[in-house]
C-alpha cells in the first residue's frame, strides 16, 4: 500500500468529523471570542479575548482548572493500576467464562450515574460501610465522602472499564512464548511484568490513559453528586455558567481551554509512549537509564516478594469496585420504596419491572436507543477501522497530529457540544431526526473506537500478511483471512464499548431530543430530574442481563480471544 493510499484510509473519518463536528466546534469557538456575555447580544465576528482574560485572570478558575487536570491524571493512573491485574485476569479466563468476565467489567457502564453515586455514598458515608470497618479496628472515623477521594473513586469506577478493554486486546494478543522465555531466563512474575508485559502493552495503555484522562477531566455529574459541591471541576463551571447563568461565551471559552488541555495531554501521552516503545519504529532506544546493579537487585527482590500479594489485592479491589453497583441495582430493582434508594429495603416487589415492561413508552424509547446504537456502531466501525490502519501504518507526515485531531470530539466536553448544537438547532432540526442524532452520536463514539482499534492494529503480526502475500493472496483475501481474524477481539471490544456509549449517551442527546425522537437515557434523566424511581434500577438489571446474553452471542460470532493461539 502506498503512502498516499494509506493516508486516504483516514479520509472518511475526517469527512464525518468535518460534517458533524466542525460546525458545533466552530459555534463554540465563535461563542468563546464574544466580548458580551449577554444572552441575546448579536454574534460578533470580531474576536475578543475578554472571556479568556476573565478565566485566566481569576485565581478561582485557575485553581479549578488545575485541580481538574490533576483529577484526570489521578483517575487515569488509578485506572491503569487497577486495570492491569483485571485485564490480565480477563485474558486468562477460559473461553466459557470470558463473556461473564467482560460483563463484570462492563457493569458500571450499564448502571445509572445517580445510582452508582448512591452506592459511593453508601460506602463512604460517615456511618457507611468503610467508616464502620475503620472504626471497628479502633481507628478514628475517616472523612471520606464529599471530597476529592470520593470523586476520584466514583470516576475510577466508571472509567476503569475503558482502561481494561483498551489493555485487554493488546495483552491477549501478546506472544505467550515471550513470557515463557523470560521465565526460562530466571525472571519472576514482577520482572516479567515490568520487562515484558508492560512494555509490549504500552500502545493499549496509551489508548486507556488518553480515554480515561479525557473522560475524567470533563466529567461533572459524579463530581456534583459525590463531591458535595466542595469539589469544583471545570465541567461543573461549564454547566453552571452555560446553562444556569446562560453566560454562553464564558462557558464556551472554558470548554475551549479544556479542549486545548485535552489535546496537549493526548499528544504528551502519545509522545511518551512513542519514546518508550522505540522498537515499534525500529529505532534504538533514546532514553536509557538504569539503577546501580545493587539497588536494582534489591528492588526486584522486594518486588518479587510483594508482587503476588499486591496483584491479588488490586484484582479483588477492582472486581469489588466494579461489581458493587450490580449488587445495588439488583437489590434496588425489587425494593418496594417509592423513590430509588439503597439505604434500606422496604419490601419485595416486581412492580418496577412491571412498570417498565407494561409501559410501551419505555419499550419504544429503548427500541429507538437500540436502533441508534446499532447504526452508530456500524458507521463508527466503518470509518474508524480504516483510520486506525492509516494512523498505524501510514507513512504520511503529521500522523501524530492527525491522530490527536481525530480525538478532538473526546476532548471537547459534552455540554459544550450541546451548547454549540443549540446555536445550530434550526439547521439541525431540518435533518431527519434519526440521522441528526446518529451524526452526533458517531462523533461521540468513533474516537473511542479509533483509540481502541489503533492499539489492536498496531498489534497485528505483519509477517503473516507478508507470508500470505508471498503465497499469492490478494489484498482483499489477506484482509479477510489474515487480518480480520487477528483483529476479531479488538473489533468486538470496540463495538461493545461503542454500543454502550451510544446507548447510554445523555449529555448531548438531552439537548437534541425532540417530540419525534426520544432515547431511553433521556427519559430516565427526565425522571431523575424530578425524582428517581426504582424503574431505573429495573432497567439497569435488564440491561446487565441483556449484556451478558449479547456477550455470549458475540463470543460465538466473533470470539473474544484468538482461538488459534491456544
Amino acid at each position: 500500500m502506498g503512502r498516499v493510499g494509506s493516508g486516504l484510509l483516514a479520509l472518511p473519518y475526517g469527512v464525518w468529523l468535518l460534517a458533524a463536528f466542525a460546525a458545533p466546534l466552530g459555534a463554540v469557538m465563535l461563542l468563546s471570542v464574544q466580548e458580551s456575555s449577554e444572552m441575546f447580544a448579536p454574534l460578533s465576528l470580531l474576536p475578543s479575548g475578554a472571556q479568556y482574560a476573565e478565566l485566566v485572570g481569576d485565581p478561582f478558575y485557575r485553581r479549578v482548572f488545575l485541580n481538574t487536570l490533576l483529577l484526570g491524571a489521578g483517575v487515569a493512573a488509578a485506572s491503569a493500576i487497577l486495570g492491569y491485574p483485571l485485564a490480565l485476569w480477563l485474558t486468562r479466563l477460559s473461553p466459557r467464562w470470558k463473556p461473564i468476565g467482560f460483563a463484570i467489567v462492563l457493569v458500571p457502564l450499564l448502571t445509572n450515574v445517580v445510582v452508582r453515586s448512591l452506592g459511593i455514598i453508601l460506602l463512604l458515608a460517615p456511618r457507611g460501610v468503610i467508616a464502620s470497618l475503620v472504626e471497628g479496628i479502633g481507628l478514628p472515623r475517616p472523612e471520606l465522602l464529599f471530597g476529592w477521594f470520593a470523586v476520584g473513586l466514583a470516576l475510577t469506577q466508571v472509567f476503569l472499564p475503558f482502561m481494561v478493554l483498551a489493555l485487554y486486546d493488546v495483552l491477549e494478543g501478546q506472544e505467550k512464548r515471550l513470557e515463557e522465555a523470560a521465565t526460562g531466563l530466571g525472571a519472576g512474575p514482577a520482572a516479567r511484568f515490568w520487562r515484558v508485559t508492560l512494555p509490549l502493552s504500552l500502545p493499549g495503555l496509551r489508548a486507556g490513559l488518553i480515554i480515561t484522562f479525557l473522560l475524567a477531566s470533563e466529567s461533572y455529574v459524579s463530581a456534583a453528586l459525590v463531591g458535595g459541591r466542595k469539589v469544583w471541576v471545570s465541567g461543573m463551571i461549564v454547566l453552571k455558567e452555560g446553562l444556569e447563568i446562560m453566560n454562553y461565551p464564558l462557558a464556551a471559552a472554558l470548554a475551549i481551554l479544556m479542549l486545548a488541555a485535552g489535546v496537549m495531554a493526548t499528544l504528551l501521552i502519545s509522545r511518551v509512549v512513542t519514546l518508550l516503545t522505540p522498537w515499534v519504529a525500529g529505532r534504538a532506544p533514546r532514553v536509557t537509564f538504569s539503577l546501580p546493579p545493587m539497588l536494582r537487585r534489591i528492588l526486584f527482590a522486594v518486588a518479587e516478594a510483594v508482587a503476588p500479594i499486591v496483584s491479588r489485592v488490586l484484582l479483588v479491589t477492582a472486581i469489588l469496585l466494579l461489581v458493587f453497583p450490580l449488587l445495588l441495582v439488583a437489590v434496588a430493582s425489587v425494593n418496594d420504596s417509592p423513590q430509588a434508594t439503597v439505604a434500606q429495603f422496604l419490601g419485595f416487589t416486581w412492580r418496577w419491572y412491571a412498570m417498565v415492561l407494561d409501559n410501551p413508552r419505555y419499550l419504544d424509547d429503548a427500541f429507538t436507543s437500540l436502533q441508534l446504537a446499532l447504526a452508530c456502531v456500524a458507521v463508527s466501525l466503518a470509518i474508524a477501522l480504516p483510520a486506525a490502519f492509516a494512523l498505524v501504518r501510514g507513512g504520511f507526515a503529521g500522523r501524530e497530529t492527525l491522530g490527536a485531531l481525530y480525538m478532538l470530539p473526546l476532548a471537547l466536553p459534552g455540554i459544550a457540544i450541546g451548547l454549540g448544537m443549540l446555536r445550530l438547532l434550526q439547521w439541525f432540526t431540518a435533518l431527519p431526526p434519526f440521522l441528526g442524532i446518529l451524526a452526533v452520536h458517531v462523533v461521540l463514539v468513533a474516537p473511542f473506537m479509533l483509540a481502541l482499534l489503533r492499539a489492536s492494529v498496531a498489534q497485528l503480526d505483519r509477517s503473516l500478511e507478508e507470508a500470505a502475500g508471498g503465497l499469492g493472496a490478494t489484498p482483499a483475501r489477506i484482509f479477510r483471512r489474515v487480518i480480520l481474524p487477528q483483529l476479531g477481539p479488538g473489533i468486538a471490544v470496540a463495538c461493545v464499548i461503542g454500543f454502550l456509549i451510544s446507548f447510554g449517551e445523555v449529555t448531548v442527546t438531552a439537548f437534541l431530543t425532540t417530540a419525534r425522537l426520544q432515547t431511553l437515557p433521556v427519559r430516565i434523566y427526565a425522571e431523575a430530574s424530578f425524582s428517581l424511581e426504582n424503574t431505573v434500577n429495573a432497567i439497569s438489571t435488564i440491561f446487565i442481563l441483556m449484556t451478558v446474553a449479547l456477550l455470549l452471542l458475540v463470543n460465538r460470532v466473533m470470539p473474544l480471544d484468538r482461538v488459534w493461539r491456544r
Binding site: 456575555s37 444572552m39 466542595k230 444556569e244 434508594t341 438531552a510 431530543t513
Partner: protein
Amino acid sequence: MSLNIKRRALLAALATPAIWGKDAVAQIRRGDELTVGVWGGAQERLVRQYCATPLEQQHGVKINFVLGGTIERRARAYAERGRPSFDVLYLNIFESRQAQRDGVTQAPSANVPNYANLYPIARLGGYGVAFNPVTIVYDRRAVAAPMTSWKDFWRDDLKGKIIWPTFPGAQGTAALLMSAKVWGGSERNIDPAFQNIARLRPFAAIQASQDQLYGMFDNQVGAASIEFGSFTRKYAETRNPDIVVADPTEGQAVAVNVACITTGTRNQALAEAWVNLHLSPDCQRAYAEQIYYSPTIRNLELPADLAAKLVMGEAAVEKLVDFDWDLVISNQARWSSRFTREIAG
C-alpha cells in the same frame, strides 16, 4: 457594521415566511399536535392523565412530550426564541419570569378560563400550576430541639451538620434570600446573607437536588437542610419518618411551578386548553394527593387532613414569603459567583 445590517436583513428575510405561515385564527383542529416540555416521572404521569388524554379524546389532537430537566428545556426555548418547537413548557418561578421578560414565553391571560381562579402570585411569568414552597427540613434524631425559625441554622447544636442547598436553583435561592431577611438584609442588601452563611461553614455537604438530599438523609450525612416541603413530606412519610418538614415562624419561601406558553406558538388555542386543564380542580387535586403540590386555584376543597399538609387558603398563600424576582434574576450571575467562592468553593 455593514455586515451586521446585512445579517439583520437576512434574518428578517428568513423570518418572513414564518410570519406568513402563522395561523391568525386560534382554533383547535383535529390532527393538531401540541408539544409540551415537562419533567418526567410522577409529573409526566399526572399531566398525561389529566391534560393530554382529555384533549386527545375530545379534540382528536396529538400531544407530544419532550421530557427533561429544567435547564435543558430552558436552553432550548431560548435558542428557539420566536420559532419555538415547544408550545408549552414548564419552568420554576424565577426562570419563568425571566423567560417572559426575555420574550421567550407569553404573559398569562384570561383567555385561559381557569386563570380567573388563580391566586395573584400565581399569575406572574405564566400560569402557576403548583405552589411548592421551600422550607426547613431536618432529621429529628440529629437536632437538640425542633427547628422553628430560619435563624435556628445558626444554633450551636447544628454546627457542621448542615446540608446547604447550592445556588442558583429554587432551594438555594430561597435559602440565600431567607438568610438575608432574617439577618436584616434583603434582595437589595445581600451581604448579610453571604456573611452569615459563611459563618455556618464547614457544611456537612452541599446539595443540588431533592433526590440528592434524600440520599444524604438516608445515610445520615447531615442534620438539616432547605428543600421543597411537598415532596420531602412524601419522602418522610414513605421512607424516613425521622425527617420533619418545619413551618418556620418567618414563613416558607415561595416557589411555583409555572406552565408557560411560548411566544410564537402555532397552537395558541390548544396550548391554552392544555393549561386550563392543568388548572382544573381535578388535576390540582391529583397533584395534591399524589405529590403534595399545593393548588394555585381558589376553587378547590380538599379533605382537612390533606389540606393540613399543604398551603391552602388565602391566609396561607398570603404568608408565603415573596421576593423581587427581577432583582434576583439580574443579580444571579454575581451571587452565583460569590456563592461558589465564599460558600461552596
